[in-house]
Amino acid sequence: MIMENGEDKPIKKMMLILSKATIDNVYACFILANGARMEGIESEIFFTFFGLEAIQKKKLEHLHVATVGNPAMHIPTLLGGLPGMEALATKMMKSEMEKLDIPPVGEFLEILAASGTKLWACKLAMDMFHIEEKHLIDDLDGVLTVGDFYVRAQGDNTHLLFI
């Protein structure tokens, strides 16, 4: 895009921080990371706090959409809290996504890794939740502190985004 002063300043790198594990947040993060690579922009994801669920082998295919405390679901909070509601809403959402050719979480992570998106786990969050590297996906690029992540964000036209 040409800026007003005539200088061309395209984004070079997207540094995404995923701190949540509801399926809508996880997909927003993955689509942004993948979309960057598709445009020739570098991208990296730092999985922290609940975001770590999205890269735990045993958990990543069982993420849910939140039916409680989510007014956009248009389900009364009391009903949203009933057993099975989250699973039902998630199933419906997943089937809609499949129709749009959006891959499941595990396959999406493989696509991201193959496209060159760097995938990092947050050390502090891993310690807090007692998660070891063996619990995480094989495509993980490593475990970082927030300081390490900032070092990786160096350079012109890098953008950071917290999800």
């Binding site: 690579r37 598709m38 445009e39 020739g40 496209s115």
Partner: protein
């Protein structure tokens, strides 16, 4: 949408603002080669295999996505990025003479 006329390999073609051919009928391999040169891509047999796949999908009116490329059996996603590093699907589509894919995936 504004279109411009451009000449690739001696063929006059109509392009949109982003440089994508607006009429696939105007495409031939030399045109593709000239566009590839503009994109700084050195075309190999593997590149042409991908181009052929994209054109076949376009003819069948199948919307393209990175996931479909990975499942094509023609090229893996990793190889696809190696062939067209600076935005694989959009660059390969441009060389193929087909519209820019609209999918976010």
């Amino acid at each position: 949408m504004t279109t411009t006329e451009k000449t690739y390999a001696g063929v006059c073609v109509t392009c949109n603002e982003q440089g994508y051919l607006t009429n696939f009928e105007q495409w031939n391999k030399d045109v593709g080669l000239a566009i590839a040169k503009e994109e700084q891509i050195e075309m190999t047999d593997k590149h042409w295999e991908v181009i052929q796949f994209l054109q076949e999908q376009h003819k069948k009116q199948v919307p393209l996505s990175i996931r479909k490329i990975g499942k094509s059996g023609v090229v893996s996603i990793k190889e696809f990025y190696q062939l067209f590093p600076k935005g694989p699907l959009k660059i390969s589509s441009r060389i193929s003479g087909i519209p820019k894919p609209v999918s976010c995936i």
